[in-house]
């Protein structure tokens, strides 16, 4: 195991995060605050409780999830796309490193950033709405699991992308809509029965509900199913990345 290489890549990526710390943190914190003001305080005050949880508190896990998912995907995809774009990837490709080490470095750093941002948003949310977390350890674990999984997903996007605009498309056109439709702002039991069935094909439903369970001890979907789906997705991502490095697809000529 080339521990020095993992450390070097991780430190390099975290350095990039620290150089842009202001926009890295300010933008998600600001947008989430806006959500809390509009949906939590303004509209939320007119809403009834959902399953014994106030509407403001109900949307907290979903909003954290929304940011963690998009941040993980964009941080990680950018992290590996940038060296491909500038050509500095030659160094990683010619170094005595294996795929696992490269993933640990890049994805580890991207996931760390997402967890930091998710935690900051959690703190910000607490300023707007009162809530208690029932299973705090599970919340932390779930946050890390989701951050890692979607950073892996972003890493794949960064390898497949052949232009900066492609990096934006997936978070904007897939992750954000699916998160909005994945029960961030509502309980799926509020939907007509036909739409409830359709919603179950949205993978984000399982993530949001799993995460919400760690907060309030209840959710629309069974926690075991949520966890299973997340882990499955992670395994698929690791499989794809291993294949990419083994065949050199899009990396080596």
């Amino acid at each position: 195991m080339n521990l020095h290489a993992i450390k070097a890549i991780y430190a390099f990526e975290m350095g990039r995060f620290l150089r842009t710390i202001f926009q890295s943190i300010a933008s998600p914190v600001l947008s989430t605050s806006l959500y809390f003001i509009v949906f939590g305080s303004a509209i939320g005050s007119q809403m009834t409780e959902i399953g014994g949880v106030s509407y403001g508190a109900f949307i907290v896990p979903g909003l954290i999830m929304l940011t963690v998912l998009t941040e993980s995907v964009s941080n990680s995809s950018f992290g590996i796309y940038l060296p491909r774009f500038t050509g500095t990837i030659y160094e990683v490709l010619s170094a005595p490193v294996e795929v696992g080490e490269v993933i640990l470095g890049y994805v580890g750093a991207a996931a760390t950033k997402s967890v930091i941002i998710g935690t900051i948003i959690l703190g910000t949310a607490r300023l707007f709405v009162p809530f208690e977390i029932v299973h705090p350890l599970a919340t932390a674990g779930y946050l890390v699991l989701i951050a890692v999984t979607f950073s892996l997903f972003g890493f794949i996007l960064g390898i497949l992308a052949d232009g900066f605009e492609k990096l934006q498309i997936v978070p904007m056109l897939i992750i954000t809509p699916l998160t909005f439709l994945g029960g961030t702002f509502y309980s799926i039991s509020m939907l007509p029965p036909a739409w409830q069935t359709v919603t179950l094909f949205n993978p984000i439903v399982y993530l949001v509900n799993g995460f919400r369970w760690t907060f309030y001890g209840k959710a629309d979907v069974n926690i075991a199913v949520s966890l299973g789906m997340t882990v499955l997705f992670m395994v698929v991502c690791v499989g794809i990345i291993s294949w990419v490095f083994r065949t050199g697809y899009r990396l080596r000529t």
Binding site: F12, R19, G87, T88, L93, S94, P96, T253
Partner: protein
């Protein structure tokens, strides 16, 4: 002779069907400076890429310092440093951080003293805290060299290291290459400045259209293929120039210029001998010019 890189039957066919390397056999000797020459698109960069792990060969084997580059890639790559042709650098990172990153990436723990020495050798020490984006092109090139040396490689590939570098810096760079060789580093370089290869290299390989067409000791190559032209300007026109030591000159149309051609494998004193005899022959001349054919002339003849 101790071989540090052994390339056998190396082939690379790109997905487009283009055959960039057609069965390359090449041995690089430990401690030498090897210059790889070839026109654009000859396969130089592909060959370097194959040894360094950037290009996946479609056939053949490469052994670097005893390690197969695909089966035992960790050990092989740890021995190799690469300075790419393109100035690919991270713009917002400091010189020190990027060099420290490279060392870590290649599996070595921090060593401030060593990195300091490299940066000082490359006149980068006072720029160690500068962001790479603020450096000139020549300095960026030196940063790439520092990165390639950061993990104390035994083999250094320099792909067009002096392209776009000013004369002074180029001279510094060659001094550094010589120092590295003295320290036992084997250096393989490609260059467009053929006079540099002539000046620096121990051996020269010429690659054209994916094939190695010649590998030769530089001095032997110059001797074998080089030649000297001795051009004599006469005071009076002549139609019958003397044949001296078996050399029959070409006479210019006006009869005022004689050109004697002396092959590279002849005695080094042959031109002087020729002129002495010419003077003894009673011919009066006003000028003497000597042109030694350069490696460039030899190269052009070879790839034509």
């Amino acid at each position: 002779m101790d071989t540090i890189i052994a390339i056998k039957g190396l082939e690379k066919t790109y997905a487009s069907g283009h055959k960039a390397l057609k069965g390359i056999d090449l041995d690089i000797r430990r401690g030498e400076i090897f210059a790889l020459l070839g026109p654009n698109g000859a396969g130089k960069t592909t060959l370097i890429g194959a040894v360094c792990g950037l290009v996946r060969p479609t056939g053949g084997t490469i052994i670097a310092d005893g390690h197969d580059i695909s089966k035992d890639f960790r050990a092989a790559r740890a021995k190799i440093g690469l300075v790419p042709q393109e100035l690919a650098t991270d713009m917002f990172v400091t010189v020190w951080n990027t060099v420290a990153f490279s060392r870590g990436l290649f599996g070595l723990g921090p060593n401030k003293a060593y990195l300091e020495k490299i940066l000082k050798d490359l006149s980068l020490w006072d720029k160690k805290d500068a962001k790479i984006a603020t450096l000139s092109g020549g300095m960026k090139r030196r940063v790439l060299i520092a990165k390639a040396l950061s993990h104390e490689p035994k083999i250094l590939f320099l792909d067009e290291p002096t392209a776009g570098v000013d004369v002074e810096l180029r001279r510094d760079m060659w001094q550094m290459v010589r120092r590295l060789r003295e320290q036992g580093v084997t250096i393989i370089l490609t260059t467009h400045y053929i006079e540099e290869a002539e000046d620096m290299a121990d051996r020269i390989g010429v690659i054209n259209k994916g094939e190695i067409i010649l590998v030769e000791d530089k001095t032997a190559l110059m001797r074998k293929l080089g030649r000297t032209e001795v051009v004599i300007g006469l005071k009076e026109p002549t139609s019958a120039a003397p044949t001296i030591s078996g050399h029959t000159p070409l006479i210019s149309e006006d009869g005022l210029t004689l050109t004697y051609v002396i092959d590279g494998d002849e005695n080094d004193e042959a031109p002087a001998d020729l002129i002495k005899r010419l003077a003894q022959s009673g011919m009066d001349f006003t000028s003497i010019n000597m042109n030694r054919s350069s490696l460039e002339d030899i190269f052009v003849t070879l790839v034509q």
